[in-house]
C-alpha cells in the first residue's frame, strides 16, 4: 500500500486506527475521533479484520476470566507454579490454627 492511499484514508493511518480501537474499549471517543475511525473502518478491509479479531480476543478474556474460579483442584494440578511448598503449608497451618485458637471461643459477630 502507498502513501497516496494513506492520504485517501482521511488522515487516519492503520496504526492510529488500531490505537483508537483499543482506546474505544476503555473510554469514549470524541466525535471527531469516531468520525475518522468510522471513515477508515469503511475503507480498510485489513483494519476491519483486525477489529473483529481484537473483539473476539476481548470475549476470550471474559470467558477465561469467568472460568478462572470454577476450576477444580484436580484440573489445576500441574499447572504453572505447582503447589504450595511443604514449608509454606506448615507455616500457614500453624498460623491458621493459632488464629483459630484465639477466635473460636468468641461469640460470633
Amino acid at each position: 500500500m502507498t502513501s497516496k492511499l494513506h492520504t485517501f484514508l482521511s488522515a487516519l493511518s492503520c496504526e492510529q486506527y488500531t490505537r483508537l480501537l483499543s482506546r474505544s474499549l476503555d473510554s469514549k471517543l470524541s466525535f471527531s475521533e469516531r468520525l475518522s475511525f468510522y471513515t477508515h473502518h469503511i475503507l480498510c478491509v485489513v483494519c476491519r479484520r483486525y477489529r473483529r479479531q481484537i473483539l473476539l480476543i476481548e470475549r476470550m478474556a471474559q470467558k477465561v476470566a469467568g472460568a478462572d474460579y470454577a476450576k477444580d483442584k484436580q484440573e489445576r494440578a500441574g499447572s504453572a507454579g505447582g503447589e504450595l511448598s511443604a514449608e509454606a503449608r506448615e507455616r500457614i497451618e500453624s498460623e491458621l490454627s493459632r488464629e483459630l485458637a484465639t477466635r473460636c471461643n468468641k461469640p460470633n459477630g
Binding site: 500500500m1 502507498t2 502513501s3 492511499l5 494513506h6 493511518s13 492503520c14 496504526e15 492510529q16 488500531t18 490505537r19 483499543s22 482506546r23 474499549l25 476503555d26 473510554s27 485489513v46 483494519c47 479484520r49 483486525y50 473483529r52 479479531q53 473483539l55 473476539l56 480476543i57 470475549r59 476470550m60 478474556a61 471474559q62 470467558k63 477465561v64 476470566a65 478462572d68 474460579y69 476450576k71 483442584k73 489445576r76 494440578a77 499447572s79 504453572a80 507454579g81 503447589e83 504450595l84 511448598s85 509454606a88 503449608r89 507455616r91 500457614i92 497451618e93 498460623e95 491458621l96 490454627s97 488464629e99 483459630l100 485458637a101 477466635r103 473460636c104 461469640p107 460470633n108 459477630g109
Partner: protein
C-alpha cells in the same frame, strides 16, 4: 446464612489435615480448618499466576487465610467460600501492586523493545499495514468453544511484557476502572492506554502465530 462457629467442637481441636466430605457445598464449607486442603492450591496458583514469585504468592495465601478467618462473619453463603477467598486474595494482590508500583516503575522494563518488534513490524512508515491479515474471526461463537484456542490465549497472555500484562489483567480479569488501574500501577491514563493497546495487539499477533487452523488465504 453463615454457620455459627459456636456449633460443634472448636476448630483448633480438629486435626488440620482432616478431609471433610461436601467441602464445597456442605455444611462445613465455612470451617477454616479445611481451607488449606480445599483451596490452598488454587489460591497459590492464582497468586503465582499474577505475581510470578513463589515466596510472595505463599505469603499472600497465608495473609488471605488469616484475613478471612478474622472476617468470617462477613462471609455470605450466596457465594462459594472459594470465590470469597479469591476475592480477598485479589485485594491482597492489588495492595501489593500498589505498594510496589514505584519500585515496579523503575524495575520492570515496560515493554522495552515491544514497539520495535511487534508494533513497528506490522506497519510501514506511513502507518499502513505491512501485511494482509487472515480472516480468522469470522465465527466468534464457534471459536469461543475451542478449548485449544482458549489455552493459546492463556499462553499468549503469559508472554506479554509484564506491565502490559498487569494492566490487561486488572482491566479484563478484575474489572477495575481505568482510574483505579492507573492508581494501582502508578501510571497516567495515556500510559495505561498504551499498555492496553500493546497487550491487545501482542495477544492478537501471538494467537495468530500459534493457532494452527489459521491459514493464509
Amino acid at each position: 446464612m453463615t454457620a455459627r462457629p459456636g456449633n460443634g467442637p472448636p476448630f483448633a481441636q480438629r486435626p488440620m489435615t482432616t478431609k471433610r466430605e461436601n467441602s464445597k457445598t456442605g455444611v462445613a464449607a465455612e470451617d477454616p480448618a479445611g481451607w488449606l486442603d480445599d483451596h490452598g492450591a488454587i489460591l497459590f496458583q492464582f497468586a503465582f499466576g499474577r505475581l510470578k514469585n513463589r515466596e510472595l504468592a505463599e505469603d499472600l495465601v497465608q495473609e488471605t487465610m488469616l484475613s478471612a478467618v478474622r472476617s468470617l462473619s462477613s462471609f455470605r453463603a450466596d457465594s462459594s467460600i472459594r470465590t470469597w477467598l479469591i476475592g480477598i486474595l485479589k485485594n491482597k494482590i492489588i495492595d501489593h501492586l500498589r505498594q510496589t508500583r514505584r519500585a515496579a516503575a523503575l524495575g520492570i522494563a515496560d515493554a522495552d523493545g515491544f514497539e520495535e518488534t511487534v508494533l513497528q513490524r506490522d506497519f510501514n512508515r506511513y502507518g499502513i499495514w505491512n501485511r494482509f491479515l487472515s480472516n480468522w474471526a469470522a465465527n466468534p461463537e464457534e471459536l469461543l468453544e475451542h478449548d485449544q484456542l482458549l489455552a493459546i490465549f492463556k499462553e499468549c497472555l503469559e508472554g506479554l511484557p509484564e506491565k502490559a500484562r498487569q494492566a490487561y489483567l486488572l482491566k479484563n480479569f478484575d474489572a477495575q476502572e481505568s482510574d483505579e488501574i492507573c492508581n494501582i500501577l502508578g501510571i497516567t491514563t495515556s500510559h495505561l492506554w498504551v499498555l492496553l493497546h500493546r497487550a491487545r495487539h501482542g495477544l492478537r499477533d501471538c494467537i495468530e502465530k500459534r493457532w494452527s487452523p489459521i491459514e493464509d488465504e
